[in-house]
Symmetry: C2
Subunit: 444 residues, 2 copies
């Protein structure tokens, strides 16, 4: 028997630890993966890939206590040496190596992709086929580090605002928005579906905690094969009670985006630099009615309105352009979507029930959020369900929650991969999805 | 067009805001759900349920500017009044009400469960059948607030330790631990499964970020109908590279538990008080070999060993009792599990390959974590796969990652609902699962 007493500090150092005061000339020990070897004749550079970035080791024949021939790219190693200044090296430092210990070796050092190049010039398909390799490229992996920052900001901001985190089931007997586009499975001889949204559950939990959020996968069996659709993605959802109107939801999202950009600036500066990203100004976000902005964009860009009830992707793009040109904003809230395109739980505008008290948030011309106020009256809910010709079957628990009282409430869902995609200026959502699932891709 | 500029502060106050300095005699506005009404004749108490707890409103006939008859339990309301001290009231305060505005009304004020009682004395089945109602009980909802604290501590600690959060797909062509116990579905005319663990993905990502974690649902089609099994649960997973041995994983988990208990003490004191919980001492956690502790428990409690390769639930319980009695610890690491009961990726002990460099963590006699060192050599992995008579089909991407180099690494998975269950001293994991999925339960 032995006792464990907690995380022990190791003597191998991370890059940020190397950069503390009085580091010059210090003997240090570091580990990492051999990202690249650059043999210049009498000296050579061994570039290590560490979680905080690249680190240059200098090999000098006869001085470094090992042979360069014994090191290969994709080895993982532990090196000892003396830390020196070098303005041309990553982080302005390098290690003059005294010894090298091999921790592991690859079976095959020939990488399928040239990951040590600054830009991984290859097709999206090749990147995805070798996902666990292509992400070893410094720029590729930086995208998903920023994605972490987005999720982290979402949670931290909402904790501060008094929200409670929930975990709702992904297998269910019935789903939120009706019968289409559901993945079906057999659950111990009963038919079941994968949830396409935590919508009904998060509403039910508003009656318990007032404010709740969830960050979890959702599943949509849509047969779209576009640059913006996935069949599984991470949804950042929140729902809050005691609102005065759906403007409260938009204000909360604006506050969230402000918090997010501050966090990214503060804690993810390395990744922003690596990807050369300028964060958007979110100090104020314009909000404009659906029919008004649709009309305005149609007029300004001379494109006729084909579908008065929804926004086509091209229209979203033009509205994004309009918001940028007219209001100098990458973001724009489009409010009051037509009722017939919104789900049953959306609250209709009492002043004109053809429209809902709802919104989408567009970022650089693409929808990244759908939200709005929900119906909180049991009777109004049942009336709307009946008016749509829907069945109450499978909604019993949801409706019972309203039968026993619910505050006025609303919420939203943010597509994590889409938000990341727009932030890093990619044009295909698969670029910012770790392991995408689409019509043709089920692996890796 | 209007501009949104961020979260606006409302003039309705939360309980913590009421308790700031110089609050006595102050006019305040609060909202909440009517949790209970206690009519004492000339005066009455309206108890509001708010997200931070209960709040007492005092109704005085003729003074409060509304009629008690117009308020019902399960209404949501906004009240104005004067804040006064009352040591018998929750938080030592009450509001002498001047006005009340109705925000929403229930269809039916008769609750299916007596949620306003301190202890909800009802069956587990009734609680689960009316989950969104039963959780309105203050003690019931406190359990899931603590569950939030556990997840939050997991993430915050790992961020501090240089881990990166990842989101791996839940629908896949193949799963980590082989063919059994998988939910199957059709994915656009191809067979697919729901992942029972993010194991293979998190290992693949160690080659990218060195240290990764995920908090997400996993799915197991096990036909167990016990108090400790679920068919869908939340798994807290991490995986880390450059380890010296599996002891590094146990040390990291010990550090995590220490961080977790501190966070719960600091930020979840209300819930700990409500549930009357004493946090466990995790300053040191004993670790003992599987065969040794199995033998010791068998001897001490006079129970014969039936299965030398695994721990039966009753054995886990006795080992938990042993750790409490002999080492005064609620937790005990059981190390070196037999190889034949561990998955193919587990690293065998080079000193005795019948055992693995792995562990389970037991908490109050129940397994809440499985972890260990993994094989990082491509050849060793393929040899073990072959020796087990497994197919490499479906493991191509996983194996390719190792072909191109991986550091020594290991990790673990924690069952969130089980850890919560033991922390709050429940005896059925469904008590600490928001919406459980088991053999018979697919709703709500």
């Amino acid at each position: 028997m032995q006792y464990l007493t907690g995380t022990a500090k190791k003597d191998t150092l991370e890059i940020s630890e190397l950069l503390t005061s009085e580091w010059e000339g210090k003997k240090v020990k570091v580990n990492g993966a051999v990202h690249a070897i650059r043999d210049m004749g009498t000296i050579a550079f061994i570039i290590l890939r560490k979680r905080e970035g690249l680190l240059q080791g200098v090999y000098e024949e006869g001085i470094s206590g090992f042979s360069l021939k014994d090191v290969r790219e994709a080895d993982t190693v532990e090196i000892k040496g003396v830390l020196e200044k070098n303005e041309k090296a990553p982080h302005g430092i390098e290690i003059r190596m005294k010894s090298l210990k091999l921790l592991s070796e690859p079976e095959d050092e020939m990488m399928p992709l040239a990951i040590s190049k600054w830009k991984l010039n290859t097709s999206l398909d090749a990147k995805l086929n070798y996902r666990s390799i292509s992400l070893r490229n410094i720029r590729e992996r930086a995208k998903f580090k920023l994605q972490e920052g987005i999720t982290r900001a979402f949670r931290d901001f909402l904790y501060e605002q008094g929200f409670t985190e929930i975990h709702t089931p992904k297998i269910g007997a019935k789903s939120a928005e009706g019968g289409a586009n559901l993945f079906r499975l057999e659950y111990f001889h009963r038919p079941a579906v994968l949830q396409q949204s935590p919508q009904l559950y998060k509403q039910m939990m508003v009656g318990v905690y007032d404010r709740v959020f969830e960050t979890a996968p959702v599943f949509r069996a849509e047969k779209h094969n576009t640059k913006r659709h996935l069949n599984e993605y991470t949804s950042l959802d929140f729902e809050m009670g005691y609102i005065d109107g759906f403007e409260d939801i938009m204000a909360m999202e604006t506050g969230l985006l402000q918090y997010m950009m501050e966090l990214l600036k503060k804690k993810y500066a390395t990744e922003l630099t690596v990807l050369n990203i300028t964060l958007p100004d979110v100090s104020r976000i314009p909000a404009v009615r659906f029919d008004e902005v649709k009309q305005r964009a149609a007029e300004k860009y001379g494109r006729g309105i084909k579908n008065p009830f929804d926004l086509e992707p091209e229209e979203e793009q033009l509205i994004g352009q309009y918001a940028k040109e007219e209001w100098d904003s990458d973001f724009v809230f489009v409010t009051h979507y037509p009722s017939k395109k919104r789900p049953f739980y959306a609250m209709d505008d009492p002043e004109d029930p053809r429209y809902t008290l709802s919104f989408d948030l567009l970022y650089k011309g693409m929808e990244i959020t759908t939200g709005g106020q929900r119906i909180h009256s049991y009777r109004a809910l049942r009336e709307k369900i009946a008016a749509r010709g829907m069945e109450e079957e499978g909604l019993t628990h949801y409706l019972d929650t309203f039968r026993h009282g619910m505050p006025p409430h609303g919420g939203l869902g943010i597509g994590l991969e889409r938000l990341t995609m727009k932030l890093v200026d990619e044009d295909n959502v698969r670029e910012t999805t770790l392991f995408p699932r689409d019509l043709s891709r089920l692996e890796p």
